[in-house]
């Protein structure tokens, strides 16, 4: 799966947790979940669970810790999909 496709599928997952709509509208690979999108840190675990369901993968703690922005998240998903 290409990074672009993953990013497109990631957007609706992240959307309900976003508190800064403007930065979400200008989403880029560098968008940070907490700093830019102002997502409550507790909700990061919900995003991880939603990502697991969407891509049918299992994300362990060490991968979860990397998922702070769009780029790193796409990379984690891509690696896990490749291992399937």
């Amino acid at each position: 799966m290409t990074a672009e496709v993953i990013q497109e599928r990631l957007k609706p997952i992240v959307k309900p947790y976003v508190n800064n709509q403007e930065n979400f509208n200008n989403l880029s690979l560098k968008s940070n979940f907490i700093q830019d999108l102002e997502i409550n840190s507790a909700n990061l675990v919900d995003i991880v669970l939603d990502v697991e369901d969407e891509f049918d993968i299992r994300i362990e703690n060490n991968d979860m810790e990397k998922m702070t922005n769009v780029e790193a998240t796409v990379e984690v998903i891509q690696n896990l999909l490749a291992k399937k």
Binding site: P16, A42, N43, V45, D46, L49
Partner: protein, 424 residues
């Protein structure tokens, strides 16, 4: 130090017979029952298959919970309390500031919160799926989840906590908030309580065999406080909320004043004498009432109406005896007395606050709601109280001073004295 006068400037309610203040006022005037048969209780082989569960339209949920907050939301007590608390705040015309409001606090109690959510969590944990609990498991199942939720919604920066004293929780919350304002530690306190609905809350009471099992086909007739045929309390749920405010703060912002809180008292019977985990020590109940009158500076003859605890068990006549002895009044001199539990059942931790909302409406609008399901009053009660003092029809009349008491498991008691406010 001069104690501050404290008034009620906003209310909200989620009850089995009506949700929202105006519907609730209409329902209690009509004596509308909120008790229904529940198939789920039948399927689970409960002996009592009836109960009170508020109806929450999606529109009301959307008004009080964001789409995100509604995800995985199973804690019914949090839903009821979240709605009632925010309704009370809006009713008091208090806005939601972006800045921290250090003058406003919350004391919003419960017995146990989010049992449905707990059940989901237990199942996931036992399935070795703890990692899939999600982020809201803690908020929905901690006892203070309700005050924490409301505190965040409203931006309250004063004390934000949840009290818990079984069926006296709601009345105790009012007294705690009242004292905080009296002593100048807060200007406004949102007080109230909530209780979850359903088999996981009610099961323990069904096991104690203290719920009526004879009315599964006639649920509306089941809750019979003060009746000769009272067969046990009907389990129920919901939430009530009141905004307490110092009189100066209320006058300063031109707020609508419903009533004044004159005083009250809280104590415990220590499970001594005739008291136990489940039965009240009468000495302590009477002392709670007399101390409340003393604190309020009111003579017993001044009380127009009692909103009793009166759950529809054999203890109802004991309660009446305690009121009669504490007030030293009987027969035609005994105040009017009613029990909202005849309409909505026993909402456990939420009972006190829902009943307080009904009491304040009576003071503000000038009426006494009817006791339903009480065609034949218990003979022990008739020995102490004249029949006319237990109205079975709506009475439209001025109520000046009202006493409200709640008693709970653990032999705990609360009594508060409220007065109508006439711009004096």
């Amino acid at each position: 130090m001069d104690k501050k006068r404290v008034v009620i400037t906003g209310m909200g309610v989620v009850a089995p017979n009506a949700t929202g203040l105006s519907h609730f006022e209409k329902a209690i005037k009509q004596g509308k029952s909120g008790i229904q048969f529940h198939q789920e209780l039948h399927d689970l082989k409960f002996s009592c298959q009836i109960g009170g569960v508020p109806k929450i339209p999606q529109e009301l949920l959307d008004k009080n919970f964001t789409a995100l907050e509604q995800r995985g939301l199973l804690a019914t007590g949090l839903i009821y309390g979240g709605i009632a608390g925010q309704e009370a705040w809006r009713d008091a015309k208090l806005g939601v500031n972006e800045e921290l409001d250090t003058d406003s606090g919350i004391i919003f109690g419960t017995g146990v919160l989010g049992v449905e959510k707990l059940r989901e969590a237990f199942n996931r944990i036992d399935d070795k799926q703890v990692r899939r609990l999600g982020s809201t498991s803690v908020l929905q199942t901690m006892a203070s989840g309700i005050s924490a939720f409301l505190g965040g919604k409203l931006g309250c920066g004063n004390q934000v906590t949840s009290n818990s004293s079984a069926c006296s929780t709601g009345t105790e919350a009012l007294l705690m908030g009242f004292e905080r304002i009296q002593y100048g530690k807060a200007k406004r306190m949102l007080v109230g309580s909530c209780s979850d609905a359903g088999p996981y809350v009610w099961g323990g009471f069904d096991a104690l065999r203290i719920l009526p099992h004879q009315f599964n086909d006639t649920p509306e007739l089941a809750s019979q406080p003060m009746s000769a045929t009272a067969a046990g309390f009907v389990p129920s749920s919901g939430a009530g909320a009141l905004v307490l405010e110092s009189l100066e703060s209320a006058l300063e912002r031109g707020a609508n004043i419903y009533a004044e809180v004159l005083g009250g008292h809280v104590n415990s019977g220590g499970q001594r004498e005739n008291g136990s985990m489940t039965a009240p020590n009468s000495t302590a109940v009477q002392s709670c009432i007399t101390q409340a009158l003393l604190d309020a500076g009111v003579n017993s003859e001044e009380i127009d109406l009692i909103n009793g605890h009166l759950t529809a068990t054999a203890m109802d006549s004991t309660e009446i005896k305690n009121w009669s002895q504490a007030l030293n009044l009987s027969g035609k001199d005994f105040p009017y007395i009613n029990s909202l539990k005849s309409h909505v059942g026993h909402a456990l931790a939420a009972a006190g606050s829902i009943e307080l909302v009904s009491s304040v409406l009576e003071l503000k609008r000038g009426f006494i709601f009817p006791n339903i399901n009480c065609e034949r009053i218990h003979p022990e009660i008739l020995k102490l109280v004249d029949e006319d003092k237990i109205p079975r029809q709506l009475l439209e009349m001025k109520v000046n001073v009202l006493a409200k008491a709640s008693f709970g498991f653990g032999d705990v008691n609360t009594c508060v004295i409220l007065k109508s406010y006439d711009n004096e």
